[in-house]
Symmetry: C2
Subunit: 349 residues, 2 copies
């Protein structure tokens, strides 16, 4: 089967580029002695997770129990779930997972720790638990080394839990000072910070500038997107994920309508102009969306597309795009090599 036989919109991955992206970043982290723990939320495809492990990743990162369950089922042996898991039902699923794979988790509150400890203790398990801290993103995470140290001490004395270290997103200029200070606070408790998990794709090539960080979590590095291009971590040629659309209408001389809208590309803008870059018409502006229509202004393009013409887009944000497709098509040259179900997509919480 050839690419031009695929129905559109189609999410297509160039396998050569995917493999090169996986290999290149692994080589970089290996050279710097940093463990690679890629985030699979970007692809949600067990086969790609296996490619990442085979290249040298120490394990994977998942954001939801549902993702981790799919990955465990597919034989992934080591999973990090850096999310506050709360509620009896989820804790039960977490314990089933912990019996099956090498599992580590995080918490940023005593509330989360109580739940984890109770569940692990009942099951006779010892769960590796890291403390999440806020390096400036303003999402989850404790706000100070003092709070981090206090949670570490609670972990250390909680039955069923083992203090694993620290976690943040992203790795940045605040990360190392926070870790150093927390380590100093914990020294008198005899608590070692064995593992410091940092991450991000935008900052992937600066991972070696964070001596305190022992492992890096990146997700988008395998696919790339306009956001990754904008912040310079990848080149356009590195981008392996494209969305192929068809021009289904040319109602005016300047406007063209694609068969991919917000249910294909999501409405993520991330500070970019437009909802995607059309490779054949780089001067076109994908300025608006309906759910199944992309509204494009071709006025700046010397040549304009015909109805029925196919176009190839680099989306703004690859993670949310793959989450909208049932399948991703792996291609080499103009041939379809493999069709991967996005197995952990829309997975239960």
């Amino acid at each position: 089967m050839y690419i031009n036989q695929l129905e559109t919109p189609a999410a297509v991955v160039e396998l050569d580029k995917l493999e090169a992206n996986i290999a290149r970043f692994q080589r970089y982290l290996d050279e710097h002695g940093i463990a690679n723990r890629p985030h699979i939320k970007t692809h949600k495809i067990p086969e790609i997770a296996h490619m990442q492990l085979k290249a040298g990743a120490v394990g994977i990162t998942c954001q939801k129990i549902g993702e981790a369950e799919v990955m465990a089922q597919a034989g992934i042996p080591d999973i990090f779930l850096p999310y506050n898991i709360i509620g009896e039902s989820k804790l039960e699923r977490l314990m089933r997972l912990a019996r099956r794979v090498k599992l580590s988790v995080t918490a940023d509150s005593e509330f989360t720790l109580r739940g984890l400890s109770g569940a692990a203790q009942r099951e006779g398990l010892e769960l590796e638990t890291l403390v999440e801290f806020d390096s400036g993103l303003g999402r989850c995470g404790v706000q100070s080394p003092q709070e981090a140290a206090e949670l570490a001490r609670i972990i250390a004395r909680s039955p069923g839990l083992r203090f694993g270290g620290l976690m943040t997103y992203p790795s940045n200029e605040n990360t190392d000072p926070f870790v150093v200070e927390t380590k100093a606070l914990l020294q008198k408790d005899g608590l070692a910070v064995a593992r410091v998990s940092g991450g991000s794709t935008p900052g992937m090539w600066q991972a070696h500038t964070h001596p305190e960080v022992t492992e890096h979590r990146a997700g988008m590095y395998i696919y790339g997107d306009r956001y990754t291009l904008k912040n310079g971590a990848m080149s356009q040629d590195d981008c392996s994920l494209k969305v192929i659309c068809t021009v289904v209408s040319r109602p005016t001389a300047e406007r063209g309508i694609l068969d991919g809208g917000s249910k294909t590309f999501s409405s993520d803008l991330l500070g970019l102009e437009g909802y995607g870059l059309i490779l054949e018409y780089p001067d076109a502006v994908y300025y608006g969306q309906s759910e199944e229509h992309g509204h494009v202004d071709f006025s700046r393009c010397a040549r304009k597309p015909e109805i029925g013409e196919r176009v190839t887009l680099i989306p703004n944000h690859c993670c949310v795009v793959s989450n909208l497709f049932n399948q991703v098509v792996g291609v080499r040259g103009d041939k379809v090599g493999v069709i991967w179900p996005v197995a952990a997509r829309g997975a239960l919480q």
Copy 2:
């Protein structure tokens, strides 16, 4: 099973409100002699489509062949697909669908019509085809009554096609004049405009002010959302779809983090402030998103939530939210009544 036993994030539909929304709008259209042809892109659930038909809808509207295939498989007998269907593979699927159900389609170009005619002719079918016109949205659709009349004439002389009428979105102040003018142009050709399909949920209660429109397509009216509230078509009490989230982190005195982000609510803003309305904390601002985190500012709330507390949100845009869930849970009071797979979600193109 009770609502509070559901894992979060959960998409929950209050069945009493859903039924009332379906009945109320059907009654209104019945009173005004307008055919009801609800758009199932909002729910993608065959059971709800059957409820709409049972209440009196003449058929349903789908936006993708994949949706229509799922609905046909579930026994829906009459499907309108107002989208330019292009490409051999899709046209083949369209013909399979046309043999199975009463199918009508639209086109806004001769290119689309050639494809439809060729495919229908080969199959010995006669496909009811409407001309899409642009009433001002600036999406698809011919721009003038002259163009509409020209396409109608092409349909009338194309083997395999039968001219069905006109279609636009939304119904507005331009709709009736466009239809009247097109009818006048077609009179000398002896071509009757039997069906005029208009639509929108924001304008649902003005459907009767468009005497030329014979059928109305609304989608969101069954669920409601913040967008529908903002434009006044529904009240907060009418909103049947909610998303239940858990507060998983309270990293600062004012910030709370929910377990629903852009992969739960989408990043659709639609001109609103924030990504959802938290019913228990109406003064809270859901100001930011990660993929699996909702970032909420509770500083304006006198009481602030505890970690582990559940909250109930009305999303900005119900259609894209249900598309992100594998299942929607129907509830009555505090009890789970039914769990519906979102069967046509992420359906092939």
